[in-house]
């Protein structure tokens, strides 16, 4: 009776594109924070509040 396949595809397509962008952004952020932390640690920088426990993680 009705052919609304286009609307269904557009909805699922929009959801996939927007969620992929969100997930991608979180992964890119994760990589840049990890790199910055490693770079600072390799320079021997420590946080003031750093404890024995922090180093273990």
């Amino acid at each position: 009776m009705m052919s609304h396949t286009g609307f269904v595809l557009a909805s699922y397509g929009a959801a996939i594109i927007v969620l992929a962008a969100l997930i991608g952004w979180i992964f890119i952020d994760q990589r840049s924070q990890r790199q910055a932390l490693q770079e600072l640690e390799s320079r021997g920088v420590r946080r003031r509040s750093e404890t024995k426990m922090d180093k273990a993680s």
């Binding site: 609307f7 952020d29 993680s57």
Partner: protein
């Protein structure tokens, strides 16, 4: 477990950012895997659900539209609880949680509006109406954007935390308005059909895929929220370490 935390209870250990990082690191691969599995099953069930006798194939939009709308409100509720944590207990993880959740909530709200619009055009004959439900959800989207801007407006997270928490709590008034807007006012949007007194009015052939998709997207939310919280803790550590490095460079000491 380090002897530094072993005297306290397990639950409170999570409130230590370092402890949180190790728990999140262990949980995330499992949570992510479970999310993919449940969403894949949910998607398969959605695609195999029969067409509605009135709505045709557009009923399939429900399987993503409804979870997005639920999550947009759940995310804001979590942020409001976190705001209480910031204001009452002044816990830094509470602010990390609220700040990390805001962009995810904004995305789910935007998707609820987009998929709703794409459902409204064939079923109502219009992309958008300024009725109570649609307008209150649009206001929720704007509030997410305001909160995102405020959490990033100040360099010192301790300063923005309090202002953000107050704004979040004031905005919580919108959540019951969204929920009950379809009962209080005349709207194009249908009233609640799943969570209602007297049980769901939805046929099981639609209710089952909807619930699986809702669980899947909820798992996705928590996976992304944990990841974003971990990123935010790392970001604050990087800032703190850069400050220490700058200070020791000022003093002329080589660290």
């Amino acid at each position: 477990m380090s002897d530094a935390v072993s005297k306290t209870g397990r639950w409170i250990d999570l409130a230590n950012p370092t402890r949180f990082l190790s728990v999140a690191g262990a949980a995330l691969p499992w949570l992510g895997g479970l999310t993919v599995l449940v969403l894949a099953i949910g998607f398969w069930m959605s695609m195999n659900a029969p067409d509605d006798y009135q709505q045709g194939s557009t009923v399939k939009i429900m399987f993503i539209h409804v979870p997005f709308a639920w999550l947009s409100m759940m995310c804001y509720t979590i942020m409001s609880v976190a705001a209480l944590g910031t204001l009452v207990w002044r816990h830094p993880l509470a602010d990390v949680s609220a700040k990390a959740a805001a962009p995810i909530g904004a995305v789910f709200t935007a998707l609820a509006l987009i998929t709703g619009s794409l459902w409204g055009k064939p079923m109502w004959g219009t992309w958008w109406v300024w009725d109570a439900r649609l307008t209150s959800v649009f206001v929720l989207f704007l509030m997410y954007l305001g909160i995102i801007a405020l959490t990033r407006a100040m360099d010192d997270p301790a300063k923005s935390a309090k202002a953000t928490a107050i704004l979040t709590l004031v905005g919580f008034i919108n959540i019951p308005i969204i929920k009950f807007s379809v009962d209080w006012w005349n709207t194009l949007h249908q009233p609640a059909s799943v969570l209602r007194m007297g049980g769901s009015t939805l046929d099981p052939s639609y209710l089952k895929p909807l619930l699986v998709m809702a669980i899947g997207f909820t798992l996705l939310f928590f996976t992304l929220h944990l990841m974003a919280m971990r990123n935010e803790i790392w970001r604050r550590r990087v800032t703190a370490m850069r400050r220490v490095a700058a200070r020791s460079a000022d003093r002329g000491t080589v660290s």
